[in-house]
Point group: none
Chain length 295, copies 3
């Protein structure tokens, strides 16, 4: 009705607050303490913010969310208006999906190359490889993916993971013994966990799918493993060897992972439950071992 020439959409503090979700009091505090914003004033003294203030406040909030202190967050928000998120892993995932769905192995390999060249191993594994496998599993349940596609994709990904695994028994870090329960054939998650553990300096011994508990116990003893990790998708397979897991927990530190494991089962058998994805849980596991080694 009246806004004049300087109509550049200047905002009063209430509106800025509404748009950013930051309370007016706090906006004033940030201005006073860190000089985050330097609004014009009306003749009456009201603050008038330019549109850019919204971006700056959002940057501030995003830095706070990253864990920075308010002082630091303000300094960064004032320095750089904003940072565009590097969304490119998503587009590469899209391309990976299309290559694997089309049985195009060389293109899949090349996408994986590019991913590994641009992102950290852990990002590639969690945001692309595991994400793809998850999605494939869901499509399979809905009957939208063929078994052939699943097999093909599995074998390409398994090859890649085993390539990254080369030499994972070497070194002097803690030793993890990895296996799937008897009857369990899905080992890609376990493989991923092993690769990340290795990247964090652990040694890994891999027994893979469908490992009898007896043999596992013996191997754990022979190799004096610091941790034994069992993973799989099937709850039933875990339940079937509940007692053996409990026995094993008496001798070694044992962790259970994958959607077949459960907090309940872990507790009963004295094992550690790893509820999350393989990358995340590998990081957590790597954090559990402090300098002392198993005896």
């Amino acid at each position: 009705m009246k806004s004049m020439g300087a109509q550049e959409g200047l905002l009063r503090i209430g509106e800025l607050s509404r748009r950013t979700g930051v309370k007016p009091d706090l906006l004033r505090a940030w201005e006073r303490r860190y000089g985050l914003l330097e609004p014009q004033r009306t003749s009456g003294g009201f603050r008038l913010y330019p549109q850019a203030a919204v971006a700056r406040v959002e940057a501030m909030r995003s830095h706070l969310a990253e864990g920075l202190s308010a002082a630091q967050a303000a300094r960064m928000a004032a320095a750089a208006p904003a940072e565009p998120a590097m969304a490119s892993i998503a587009s590469l995932l899209e391309e990976l999906r299309s290559a694997l769905d089309g049985f195009d192995e060389p293109r899949a390999q090349s996408v994986l190359d590019r991913m590994l060249a641009s992102f950290t191993l852990e990002t590639v594994l969690s945001d692309a490889v595991i994400a793809y496998l998850h999605e494939l599993g869901e499509r399979w349940e809905r009957g939208e993916a063929s078994v052939a596609q699943e097999h093909f994709a599995s074998s390409v990904i398994r090859g890649r993971l085993l390539g990254l695994a080369r030499g994972w028994g070497a070194g002097s870090g803690p030793l993890a013994l990895l296996a799937c329960p008897p009857g369990e054939e899905h080992d890609l998650g376990l493989l991923t966990l092993g690769v990340v553990l290795h990247a964090r300096g652990w040694r890994v011994a891999y027994l893979g799918p469908d490992t009898p508990m007896e043999t596992l116990a013996q191997a754990a003893k022979n190799m004096r493993a610091d941790w034994v990790v069992l993973a799989g998708l099937s709850t039933k397979r875990f339940r079937a060897v509940e007692n053996e897991i409990a026995d094993l927990s008496g001798e070694h530190r044992v962790a259970l992972a994958g959607s077949g494991a459960s907090a309940d089962l872990a507790q009963k058998s004295g094992a550690l439950f790893l509820p999350g994805g393989p990358v995340e849980e590998a990081k957590r596991l790597a954090g559990t071992i402090q300098p002392q080694r198993a005896h």
Copy 2:
């Protein structure tokens, strides 16, 4: 040439002990009696050993195992860390066996590296990898090998083969579609066959273990495979899908391999029987399609 000095992580006696398997007391005794090692000390008096001490202690142990007296062994260990030897494929196989039996992945990788550096891919596969798997199978039947050993060795070898397989879908050669019959989990022979085919210029699409026949037929059709190869160890698994194989043979050239296949079954279902080992049979198969003359 000189070691960089600054870069060296010094070990305390406990860690040296863990890495060499020699108890701290004994290490101190060897130092006191024979001057085997001359560690630095921390300000508080703790011993600090350079990495090279590991090699020296291992040399000491190896000389002791040869029957030398401790004093002699120490003198020799102090003089020369160790000595390697030259290798034939047979001796390398021997070393591969010992590494895999001992769950020593890094050593196994290193043996495979040396094999591939000195011999043809096909030689390594037929005279070492397949030979080892064969032998392992026999030991397993006689109850001389544990399941853990078999799993461990399989996973190392599978990783290597899949590494050699990378990019095997690329190119312009004939396309082979590879799979195991439903229920069949042993795919290492099939993998080997695929690697050799690829080395001969073929493209390979790999569906791997336990592939439903229906899905196989569909994939073969979609990809217009020149050959479909089914392989496995179990006769029963083949028999169970005899009819489907016959159907498939109507549409594609089909070959059956592995000890589960038989001339009889192949004949009945109109497929080609590949009685020999994977390397040999891959070569034969590659011979069935003559070099393309592009002119």
Copy 3:
């Protein structure tokens, strides 16, 4: 390379702790006892850590996991920022450079092994091997690389490429005949091109450096080559045999590659000009012949 300074978000101890999984108390203890970190302080005395502190703490933890004492681990972590446990192609190239520049052949081989385990052959060749050779050429022109270095690096790389080339005459694909013009001694690019062609299913016959045109023509005729590829760095060497190339183009498909070739020359002599790098051009060449449909 230099850090950008202004752009750095400084972390307080709690956030550093959250990101590394090391408790604040322990971080302070490591600072006090070993000087692991030297954070700035706020005016009020709070510690402010740069992002790099995360890497350093992780290095510390990784050394601890290897069994080093805290004092040693800190010393090493402070010395070397960190060893990125899982390597990118760029960091591996960095290591390859250092190994080759230091005349350290075993380490160079091991780097190449690790590259090939994690990346596609084509990526390794184009992003590492060819990149290194290119860079070496430039350093040589600027007088920054010695002849000895160039010879050493060439011989290591040539050995590796020849290893990959093993058996490349076998199979059923199109046949490429590869040679350098008379007088031309630089054949590493050509060798690389051959390796990639082979990986794509072609058969390769390699005549190597300094090949008389007459010999080449005869071989092409005898072997009924599908393509003849001539490559080299020197323009002069190409010009000198312009007429013979034209003759050859009458009988065979001929391609010219390497910085010595030119579009002009190719056009005059009726050959195909390949302006790009060897990996790229091998792929293009492989694309000129469509996958064989054996049905």
